[in-house]
């Protein structure tokens, strides 16, 4: 594999803290190999800023293999950038051309306040899970794992929903900043499994209530969430969520 190098401009959102006024700042980044990951390009920019006595760009990242859900950049108008089914950390510089200007913004949603630059606070997602995104089973209560056969199709569908990495790209992509794809993935994961049945109704009601309380917007079925989801969580989960919610509401005491 041959390496090509390119020179780029990055236009980055800089904001000192939650209360400060933010603005775009443009930087030149030179000698970027097309084999680099996007975040390695950011590392090079930051290394230069530090040696020049400047303030490096703050951004969240951790595993750099597309699974922890920590990275969160809005790149050229798309959460996680131009590639399909991808996270920012797995985006590679092959995706860009020499001389290009890349625009980088944080996730923008009222429910995800900015911490600094490209870092946002996604603790609202944890609180939605706290509202009911679990099966209430204490350690030590379990029966043999094979005592409960689960139809393969349901198990596979539950797994497909459970693949959500909680990155928040769905919220960032949505014009209403709705968290319905995130929420529906968890509700589906647990509703599809027999273990989740006892709390099925209360779970969906409580989780939706918490989502509303956090200030996320409504779903208008635009589908931007599904198109942008790095794990390709299906929008069919939102339909299932709506069913679950309606059923639970009608039979609620």
């Amino acid at each position: 594999m041959s390496q090509n190098t390119m020179n780029l401009k990055v236009k980055v959102w800089r904001q000192k803290n939650a209360n400060a006024q933010g603005a775009f700042v443009t930087y030149d980044v030179a000698g970027i190999s097309d084999e680099m990951s996007f975040l390695e390009m950011m590392d090079i920019l930051n290394e230069r800023l530090i040696t020049e006595g400047g303030d490096p760009v703050a951004f969240d990242h951790d595993c750099r293999e597309g699974i922890c859900g920590m990275c969160s950049m809005y790149i050229n108008g798309k959460p996680h950038g131009p590639w399909q089914a991808n996270t920012t950390c797995q985006l590679h510089m092959r995706a860009f051309k020499d001389g290009e200007t890349i625009v980088i913004e944080p996730w923008r949603a009222n429910s995800f306040p900015i911490v600094k630059d490209l870092t946002v606070d996604r603790s609202a997602f944890d609180r939605i899970i706290q509202a009911g995104g679990y099966i209430s089973v204490n350690t030590g209560n379990a029966v043999d794992g094979n005592s409960l056969p689960i139809e393969k199709q349901n198990a596979d569908e539950a797994f497909a929903a459970a693949m959500c990495i909680g990155c928040g790209a769905c919220v960032a992509a949505c014009k209403n900043s709705s968290a319905m794809l995130f929420l529906s993935a968890k509700v589906s994961h647990l509703a599809l499994l027999p273990q989740g049945a006892p709390e099925r109704k209360s779970r969906v009601l409580k989780m939706v209530a918490q989502m509303d309380k956090e200030g996320f917007g409504s779903c208008t079925n635009t589908g931007a969430c599904e198109a942008t989801c790095p794990k390709e969580i299906s929008i069919a989960n939102i339909a299932r969520l709506n069913n679950e919610y309606l059923g639970a509401s009608l039979t609620a005491q």
Binding site: I129, V137, G196
Partner: protein, 657 residues
């Protein structure tokens, strides 16, 4: 000699007897006891949830923005359990035996047996939580093989097993947060242990958003902060994974055991250039079906697909016919290095070998043909069917490979090379997972106890969850039972004040260096030293040089580091510098340990000690012990030994031929 406090009695009965006789804390008293848990990976999240369910007041800490992001999430292949669902001869004893043998007879029998015993409970617990393990058409759980075993005991959820297990533990944890039993502190990092009368009684944590130092009291402190693979800079660990919590514990008197036992995983995507920030693992499960080879001829220039069978060297199958591509990780890694060092490597860097799926695709294609009752099928159709099967089994891994390399692994063999993945060494703990500091425990990868000199695949998830769900709730309780008369100590106590002062001074001194080089640049240089001299193979001369180099690097770090920004704000560069400072000190200890262990075992390969065939040559007579190092000040450590007594298994040279 160190005493691990292993219960007496038969190996099979030890844990049962321990549980039957350990002291208990009644529910009313549990509500008064506070437990601090540092780290929320599999060990930390499972311990936090389980302890909170019991009624303890838990305070959990993680440096990420959510406990769900801990690096356990990246584990791919699976989790072992001695269920014997496949009727292929598995048992608690066999899992125990495989783990001891895989660890090259440098782990503790009693701990490993307990691990094998509780392994089956883990699967049951996770299923009950809704972890979507892979299933067969009959609705029952599916299994696959991993390295170092001849049975199928690995449970999995595609290539995302760690993610699914962690989400299960995370959900259990968040449930306890909602119930008010756990206080969760995200974006916090532990900076020191607070000791009162020689016992761990709390921690100083830094709020990474505000920079504020916080004092937290706990009747017990559990370190669940993972391993230290990032000492090498390039590893499969997450960027934030660090040794700081464990290292602070070490500096407060906890012995650090077998630091030189690190695992180099054979199947990772090779380094592509100096810019590289991390390495990506290709799951060991790929060795179930993939075949590893290099060209037979020196100077081979043809593309992989153009090299005929006769000119390929399937070196693992050649050297280890009994286990073939499924030899343990240390053996596979060294074999790949041996071929590359002999100039048979492939790719532009020549530091890679092929992992080939062509044969598996064809084999699965043929199975599909007969399953679907097709006739008159072309080779292309068989290949297409086979690719579908491989996609279902390993699709996410193949996708990841193609995103990173720009190559299509369904068409051309993957290029792989060993990379740092896991650290078997860690804080020394006794049978109860307690360190040498009373009240201070270490769980999961942060301790040293179960994997000896080499960990088998799919055993890290097992150990993390065993410690958190099923071991610590009993053993920590056994010790807390003596503490019920002791009320919580207010954090106005002078010990908390002094510890806070000390932490503040250290952070200020780091910030005030005002030099020119970034923490990252020091980290890269440290990584190169440790990788070259304390990596896949080690020599006395190289290790001595490395110790001198690390000491020099430490001096330079403390005189030329530059941290931008302020102390009292969100400052990731400050966090990084804080961690790199600890990695530098650990790096020295790793080399000291590797130099002192004059034998080869598992992942620790000293070139001076090998068999004529190039296999690791152990010295059981002189080195059958755990090396536990006590910190005695800057650059000084005292070695304490825990003798390893094999009462049930008779150590022999590991043989995978």
């Amino acid at each position: 000699m160190l005493d691990a406090k292993i219960p007496s009695g038969n190996l099979d009965d030890k844990w049962v007897d321990y549980k039957g006789h350990c002291k208990l804390v009644n529910p009313a008293n549990k509500r008064k006891m506070e437990v601090i848990i540092v780290g929320t990976g599999l060990a930390g999240a499972s311990a936090a949830a389980s302890m909170a369910e019991l009624g303890y007041k838990v305070k959990a800490f993680c440096f990420q923005d959510s406990p769900r992001r801990a690096h356990s999430i990246a584990a791919q292949g699976g989790i072992n359990a001695a269920k014997n669902y496949q009727n292929d001869g598995d048992s608690v004893f066999r899992l125990f035996y495989d783990t001891i043998k895989g660890g090259d007879y440098r782990s503790r029998e009693a701990n490993v047996h307990r691990l094998a015993e509780v392994s089956t409970n883990i699967i049951d617990q996770c299923v009950a939580q809704g972890v979507p393990f892979a299933r067969e058409y009959g609705g029952l759980l599916s299994n696959r093989s991993f390295g170092g075993t001849q049975v199928q005991r690995t449970f999995y959820a595609a290539g995302q097993t760690g993610q699914q297990l962690l989400i299960g533990a995370y959900q259990a944890l968040e449930r306890q947060v909602a119930l008010g039993n756990v206080t969760m502190h995200t974006r916090h990092e532990m900076q020191d242990i607070v000791k009162i009368d020689g016992k761990a009684k709390g921690i100083i944590a830094r709020n990474l958003i505000t920079g504020e130092l916080e004092k937290h009291f706990g009747h017990a402190v559990l370190i669940c902060s993972g391993g230290y693979g990032n000492v090498y800079y390039l590893s499969t660990n997450a960027m934030g994974s660090n040794v700081t919590a464990a290292w602070k514990a070490h500096k407060q008197g906890a012995y650090f055991a077998n630091p030189c036992f690190t695992q180099i995983h054979p199947t990772c995507i090779p380094v592509s250039g100096d810019h590289q920030s991390k390495l990506t693992l290709m799951s060991e499960s790929l060795r179930n079906d993939g075949r590893i080879w290099v060209p037979k001829n020196l100077g081979e220039t043809r593309k992989a697909n153009d090299i005929p069978e006769a000119d390929r060297d399937y070196f693992l199958e050649r050297r280890y016919p009994a286990f073939g591509n499924l030899v343990p990780r240390d053996v596979a890694s060294r074999a790949a290095k041996e071929r590359c060092d002999a100039n048979y490597g492939v790719g532009t860097s020549k530091q890679a070998v092929y992992l080939d799926y062509a044969a598996a695709i064809e084999r699965y294609g043929k199975i599909e043909v007969s399953k679907q009752g097709l006739s008159d099928v072309s080779t292309e159709q068989i290949i297409a069917l086979g690719k579908e099967v491989v996609k279902e089994k390993y699709g996410n891994l193949f996708n990841m490979y193609s995103k990173i390399t720009g190559e299509n692994p369904y068409e051309v063999p993957m290029r792989i090379y060993p990379a740092v993945h896991y650290t078997m060494g860690g804080l020394w703990v006794d049978y109860e997972l307690q360190t040498t500091v009373p009240g201070l425990y270490a769980l999961g990868e942060a301790n040293f106890s179960d994997h000896g000199a080499n960990r088998l695949g799919a055993s890290a998830l097992m150990q993390g969850l065993a410690d958190g769900y099923f071991v610590a709730p009993y053993t920590v309780g056994n010790n807390l039972a003596d503490d019920i008369y002791n009320a919580a100590i207010p954090t106005t106590h002078s010990a908390f004040e002094e510890a806070t002062q000390k932490v503040a001074e250290r952070i200020a001194s780091l910030k005030n260096i005002n030099g020119k080089q970034s923490a990252e640049s020091f980290h890269k240089r440290l990584g190169k030293i440790i990788w070259n001299e304390c990596g896949m193979s080690r020599t006395a001369a190289g290790l001595k040089q490395a110790i001198a180099d690390v000491q020099a690097l430490k001096k330079e770090f403390w005189s030329d580091l530059r941290i931008p920004g302020e102390i009292n704000e969100y400052n990731p560069e400050l966090d990084k510098a804080n961690r790199v400072a600890d990695f530098i000190e650990l790096g020295e200890l790793m080399c000291v340990d590797a130099l002192a262990r004059e034998e080869s075992c598992g992942g620790h390969f000293r070139e001076e000690y090998q068999t004529p065939e190039g296999e690791a040559l152990r010295d059981d007579e002189n080195y059958m012990y755990v090396a536990a190092w006590e910190n005695k000040g800057a650059h000084e450590w005292e070695l304490h030994k825990e003798a390893l007594k094999y009462e049930v298994i008779k150590p022999s040279q590991r043989n995978y031929k």
